[in-house]
Symmetry: C4
Subunit: 260 residues, 4 copies
């Protein structure tokens, strides 16, 4: 019972995450978000090939860490599911992954200028945001998509211990210790990118966040604090699925009154 | 029966295309999209003079490749229908044409900077995007509109074997081997343009797509793959005409489970 | 009867114009649009002090060319109604006036860079767009608003024979030979401004419209052509007042089938 | 009776202010607005920890000028309520405070370029907009949030007699003599920021407002004039709470017919 409830709660959150990312223009018909199976770290959940704004509970499939559907599920999966599989395989701490093509992040993937936290809501992308270029290892003739485990493992290596990797001419992949955190990053990374680009209009000297500020914010982060859930509820409400947030059984909401 | 069904299916898709382009801000009251007649390559379909967001099945007219309405249809056509006629006349491979004034593409038509694919969703515009200047051949005193076949043929010559031609101070025209593809280009070209403009804020060195990447993506493109139709459905849903997509008879949807 | 119908038709159009300008973000709570009285050139119509998105038929007041309400109408008028009065007094050809603060036009009022037509839909602002600085004649201590006839006449002098004058740090005023035309200008001027600003990202060499192109477009303009009314209907539809367009008695729509 | 009515009217306005700021994208899930208690200058009103778009009358808490909830209210307050407490404590003239992270203001907090009034609707931010950097006094290892009175007092000192202080990498805080005024500032400051940034594209020479213009506008400002309330009603209408504006008892609306 407990386990079933926990999984249902996680899948409900995954539906919400899909809708939020669509409504906040982080994804359009393309891009996807996954969570690791709460009870089996060798599995993860990801929707079948469908626009995130249309994903419902029944559209979610289970995969192993090679990107293969489990249990003989024959539905069409996303072509780039391997991105998720490789991130979970490489990093035991990762509980949720987003891959998206958010427009305002893309300029940083095609120039030498590093994307970095310049506003406090962007701090969670971390000190260093590497850029992965598929052509470096797979040559200049790919279709740019990550369509097998070899490519996905190379991307995971580039990501390393960081939270976000840009993908040249394509998008970004983000990994986090909770679904709420990866969604928050995916929403605020484009905002940080816009602020950073606009600041460049005003002069080349930008004061980014201090390393200590990034670290302090990271240490203080609590995914189930009231402050953190406030944003989740806000985005869910805007995306028309506040009812899914309300339905969530209270006993699976850990630490509802964070001390943050 | 088969033929009638195929034509009805094509016209239904053309209505959807009108609505998508309007909803995605590719067109406003002006701009238009056409398809070649599926059974008669000397004919094409295009709405009467109407805002694309209002186009319904009954508003679609048939034209010959000189831009004349067929069958004595006396309704008012678009002034610039010749753009479509000349594109179909010049290129047997072209099945669909869009002419639009999407704002973020316009800067590339009035400067020397070439628009080129810098993101993977922009790859379908192809390696080279020529700029057509009506004044080059028709002088500096036109009203800038393409209002006869002579002007339209000149534009088609400039387009050549490419997928998109910019029109100085006016807009762009795109031609493709399927309606879904031309709509996709028309939506993603402005996005590519914005990313390219924003990247310039970050420094002059931009890494565009490799020629091999553009070619690989072009080769792999399948208009009726699940991946491709996903975007079509997504845009149709946002534009309030998902019901038209659902209505479409299944037997006219070729290769619904693409291997892409 | 004829006269009453003509005036009612004009006032209905003025309501639509208010709603369009609000919906297209040309005005917010501030900014206004007027028409000259169709039968009495010494009078003009303008709403009482109200947000344009809320203006209805009963909110429209009549003014003389000194900006005084006629017939003892004691309702609160707009503070800057004098802009309209002075434009009608100075220019017999002007039938409609817009004053607004559209954000993307404002940068051109505070720098030396001239706003000029660079896209065909921007052609109607004309070859020359002067900038009026209230401080030039009224000193650096005004509240920047045009609150009397002396200031308004100075602005009208700056406007001269042109269609648009920018107002430093404030907005713009546009004057045209028809309501449809002034609304169209007010919608497309900000678009032209954005394209011009974005083109500057791509390099300093911009190819604006040729003088002959601006003149040809101006000569060919017909406010009641089908092409022109198409945009009016489109914007009205988006603004939720398509029903007002439909209601309009056909016998007051001159030249419905323009040859443009 | 009178007092109760006045307080209820003030709290109703505070609910409207929350909704307006959310709808105008000044705040998202984060950011907040407060008013000083109309009868007890040692108290202020601020919502409990909740997204501003969801705030209702029952969510508003009362605080003392140390940021402590009064009357044993045990609900979770905003972490940064101290910003408000310190502003009211330092400035007897301040009646309302906004703290927000509006995206387009943020670039000015991380560069040396000063934000300053360049459009008339931005005049109310005043001649000088200081930038507060939390690291100057509290070091480079904070989480950047203002979470105690010591930090908040330092911010209030930086604000000094000005209306707005930017907060490096974080947002801004604005203080005004009325709620309507602080909301207006919060909406128009980002617009002024955008115009200022865009003007820089056109050349480095920007003509900002004259000091005398800023002063004249400030002197003429009347929070309850018809002109001022027009914007309030407009924003409330857009935010879906026009009904709250209408409900407001007329006898608590001071000076409804301003002579502005």
């Amino acid at each position: 019972m407990m386990q079933a409830g926990e999984i249902e709660s996680a899948l409900s959150d995954l539906v919400i995450a899909n809708r939020i990312l669509a409504n906040e223009n982080v994804v359009d018909a393309y891009g996807h978000v996954s969570i690791r199976h709460p009870r089996d770290p060798q599995r993860f959940f990801l929707a079948r090939s469908l626009s995130p704004d249309r994903v419902e509970r029944g559209d979610i499939m289970e995969f192993d860490l090679e990107g293969n559907p489990t249990g003989g599920d024959a539905r069409q999966p996303y072509l780039e599911r391997f991105i998720h599989a490789a991130a979970y395989a490489a990093r035991a701490d990762v509980q949720a992954v987003v891959h998206a093509h958010a427009e305002d992040v893309l300029p940083f993937g095609i120039t030498a200028a590093p994307l970095r936290p310049v506003i406090h809501s962007g701090s969670f992308m971390g000190l260093h945001v590497p850029v992965w270029d598929i052509a470096d290892r797979f040559g200049p003739d790919t279709n740019m998509l990550v369509t097998n485990m070899e490519q996905a493992r190379d991307l995971a290596r580039c990501l390393g211990p960081n939270n976000v990797a840009l993908m040249r001419g394509h998008g970004f992949s983000a990994a986090a210790r909770s679904l709420i955190e990866v969604v928050r990053m995916a929403v605020y990374i484009p905002r940080n990118a816009r602020v950073q680009m606009n600041a460049l209009r005003l002069g080349r000297e930008i004061r980014p966040l201090h390393d200590g500020e990034i670290a302090a914010r990271d240490l203080g982060y609590k995914p189930y604090s009231l402050e953190t859930r406030r944003a989740w509820r806000y985005w869910a409400h805007k995306a028309g699925c506040a009812h899914l947030v309300e339905e969530q059984p209270v006993d699976h909401v850990h630490k509802p009154w964070g001390s943050e």
